[in-house]
């Protein structure tokens, strides 16, 4: 108790310096937390993938499609419960900056496969009745202020022309990690319009989402699906939804790696600041440390004083920084809108923040703590701060 009091009193002797150091720590811990959350957001799609969903796509690449009749062949594969077609629409709402994902889907099987999209029964019925209807996520609705009955005109980049869709339903996520920034509409409507405008491109599907009975058989079922189409014009590649999503992350891996590296750079920056503070503090108090030792305190006790002060500062900074992480990341996530569909501070991030702060506190005290413990009483008493 006495020891703690001494540590805190020591820490508060130089109020300005302590205040500045803690402020620096707060900024660093906050920045670190935000960057970790950005990295988490990158993996959000893979995190929310269900183990009983597979994704079948053209083996050449995602930009190639598959004929519609594959749907029946996939449905016939043993272990498959349901199949839904989905096409990436890639439309622009007013400006390319307002990016959000849009999919043309088979509504009935698709929404049955994604129970995490919670849609009100009457809204879903209204959507099913309206060929030009659309279902949008809560976050998307809030970002652009869309309400039920509003018309969203999309300018097609893949499908030429302007496509007006009417909002018939708004879905909520079952969990915080559910992506509610998407828009869905009828695959049949898009396809029929294509039949009139560009018949050669009709009856083509981007991906099939496949629901299976038993997640433990996913590898075997995926192979069985792909075997059906070997040596056809559109060979397929089937993988679990998670692997499919991780494929996207892997393509931008360099950016994720860069953000991770940078998030640790800020820890080193604050380590330099903190180590400097502790070095200056210890240098000024050499005389006191010598006095303590002259009074009979062991070198270990003196070293503990230095470490205690350093760790106390680090933890205070960490606590404030973590507390600030929540409102700041909420504001940042809101500003990023639909670019980062899911932006949540995870428990692992907080644990990392605490661990980094502790490491900074300990590392910053190593040199000053050692010299304080080793100081010879005579030299220390003679020294002038």
């Amino acid at each position: 108790m006495q020891f703690l009091k001494l540590v805190l009193r020591n820490a508060l002797r130089h109020k300005l310096r302590t205040g500045l150091t803690v402020a620096g720590l707060v900024v660093a811990i906050l920045a670190f937390g935000l960057l970790q959350t950005v990295v988490d957001a990158w993996y959000a799609g893979a995190e929310s993938a269900a183990p009983n969903r597979l994704v079948t796509r053209n083996a050449v690449s995602l930009t190639f499609s598959m004929p519609l009749h594959y749907r029946e062949k996939i449905r016939a594969v043993d272990g498959v419960r349901a199949v839904g077609a989905a096409n990436w629409f890639g439309g622009i709402y007013q400006d390319p900056k307002n990016f959000f994902p849009q999919f043309a889907i088979d509504p009935a099987p698709y929404f049955a496969m994604y129970p995490e999209y919670r849609i009100r029964e009457d809204e879903l019925r209204a959507f099913l009745r309206d060929r030009k209807g659309a279902v949008i996520g809560r976050k998307l609705a809030e970002t652009h202020g869309f309400k039920l009955g509003d018309t969203i005109p999309l300018k097609g980049t893949i499908y030429p022309g302007t496509w007006p869709f009417t909002v018939r339903a708004i879905y909520d996520g079952a969990e915080a990690k559910t992506d509610t920034s998407q828009m869905f509409f009828h695959w049949d409507y898009v396809n029929e319009t294509l039949k009139a405008r560009a018949p050669r491109r009709a009856d083509q599907v981007g991906v099939f989402v496949v629901q299976i009975d038993d997640p433990s058989r996913s590898a075997g079922i995926a192979q069985a699906i792909d075997r059906q189409f070997v040596n056809s014009l559109a060979e397929t590649l089937t993988e679990t939804e998670k692997a499919f999503q991780l494929g996207f992350v892997a393509m931008t891996e360099a950016i994720v790696v860069a953000i991770r590296i940078v998030s640790f750079v800020v820890i080193f920056i604050i380590l330099a600041v903190m180590a400097n503070t502790m070095a200056m503090t210890a240098r000024e108090r050499i005389g006191e440390y010598a006095t303590l030792k002259a009074l009979g305190f062991a070198p270990g006790y003196v070293a503990r004083l230095v470490f205690g002060e350093s760790i106390a500062l680090a933890l205070i900074g960490a606590a404030l920084g973590i507390a600030a992480t929540f409102p700041v990341s909420a504001a940042f996530g809101a500003k990023m809108g639909t670019l980062f569909p899911v932006f949540e501070v995870s428990g692992a991030t907080i644990a990392l923040q605490v661990a980094c702060a502790l490491a900074v506190g300990v590392a910053a005290a190593i040199l000053p703590g050692r010299s304080a413990a080793r100081i010879r009483i005579v030299d220390g008493l003679r020294a002038v701060g």
Binding site: R17, L20, I259, V266, A279, M280
Partner: protein, 389 residues
């Protein structure tokens, strides 16, 4: 007014070496991040600018932002081809390449993870339209065959892209016969082959894009106005360079905004470090400051001396940071460009602007960290300061 010699400030830094090293080290890290971000952005831009030729145009379907999304019917391509503004080659034929651009997923050598790469089927004069591209190994593909050549970044990173090896896509085997160097342009991350062969392999009836050289670059506006108002065509006409610049906009903005925001946040940490150091410097030398004032140096001179010390500290941080950043020019980054949805490799590029901007940034950090302590030093009263000793 007599100034305090600069040596006074610099030698003070040297006396407290550990503190100086730690403070400058923190600043160096911030400068490093700041410079690296600008270098990355400069590298990305130069790669995409180098991809387009100033006198070439690129035609896509209207509102298709990328080559992949675009599709041009044969009849429409023929109308573009016969425009009088387009240059003619030595054989009298127009310098036009009707191209097929597709993405294929190929596993990377080191990770085995499949990434999209751009495959470009060129028309007859395709290579002629890209004078920056040279074959560095093997030879060019022959027309009418399933031979392909690959860019240097592809040959480095992807499986089965060595000369003599075969890639399988579009239901055929394609033999790699050469490696080409695109002089740092986006072509380095592409695979090239015969456009007609690719159209057949992918069972396509429409081209992706039409690339053409203008006889006179100034005739661009007239050609654009005429083609875009032609009721038979639903096309966008752009200068090739402008088109590729637009391809980098999202990624470039992302790098800039994220990177610069981080630099500013990090710089707060470094500024606080400088402030702590400078406050300590002032506190330790209170008596000295009193003596200097007693000797006749004015408040202004004291202020300048301490600011100079903070700036010198920042200068050391800048020099170390930029030296470390210049080592990054050896690194080549490859990532997916969101707009084209394909792999793009580019390097960190150290331009004079980056050096200048990071210099200003570092000095601004030093100034911001040093100004309050320097003011405190300048405001000390002679008697109090001398008594503090």
């Amino acid at each position: 007014m007599k100034a305090i010699p600069l040596a006074y400030s610099v030698r003070n830094l040297w006396t407290r070496r550990l503190t100086t090293a730690l403070t400058a080290g923190g600043m160096a890290l911030v400068v490093f991040v700041f410079a690296a971000v600008l270098m990355l952005d400069a590298g990305l831009r130069s790669a995409l600018v180098a991809t387009g030729q100033p006198d070439s145009i690129l035609v896509t379907r209207r509102a298709a932002g990328t080559e992949i999304q675009s599709g041009i019917e044969r009849s429409q391509a023929a109308i573009v081809e016969t425009s009088p503004e387009i240059a003619t080659g030595p054989d009298g034929a127009p310098v036009v390449s009707k191209e097929t651009v597709v993405l294929i997923a190929q596993p990377k050598r080191d990770t085995g993870v499949a990434t999209n790469i751009t495959v470009r089927g060129l028309g007859e004069t395709g290579p002629l339209l890209r004078p920056q591209v040279r074959i560095v190994e093997g030879r060019m593909f022959r027309r009418g065959t399933t031979e392909i050549v690959v860019g240097t970044s592809i040959a480095e990173r992807f499986e089965r892209t060595g000369i003599g090896e075969r890639l399988r896509f579009g239901g055929r085997e394609w033999t790699v016969v050469g490696v080409f160097d695109g002089a740092g342009s986006g072509f380095d991350s592409e695979v090239w082959g015969d456009g007609d062969q690719m159209m057949q392999a992918f069972r396509r009836n429409a081209f992706s894009t039409v690339v053409a050289r203008l006889a006179d670059p100034a005739s661009f506006d007239a050609l654009k106005a005429r083609l875009e108002s032609d009721p038979r065509l639903t096309l966008d006409v752009k200068r090739e360079r402008r088109f590729y610049e637009e391809q980098s906009e999202v990624l470039s903005n992302f790098i800039r905004i994220l990177g610069l925001t981080l630099s500013v946040i990090f710089s707060v940490g470094a500024m606080i470090g400088a402030m702590i150091t400078m406050y300590a410097a002032v506190a330790n030398r209170t008596a000295e400051i009193g003596a200097l004032r007693a000797l006749g140096f004015r408040r202004g001179a004291i202020l300048v001396a301490f600011l100079a010390e903070a700036l010198a500290l920042a200068f050391v941080g800048w020099a170390v940071g930029i030296a470390a950043a210049s080592a990054m020019t050896l690194v080549r980054i490859s990532t997916m460009n969101w707009q084209s949805f394909a792999e793009l490799a580019f390097s960190f590029r150290l331009t004079p602007e980056v050096v200048g901007q990071s210099f200003v940034f570092a000095l601004a950090m030093g100034l911001a960290g040093g100004v309050l302590p320097a003011l405190r030093a300048a405001r000390l009263k002679i008697v109090d300061a001398l008594r503090a000793a």
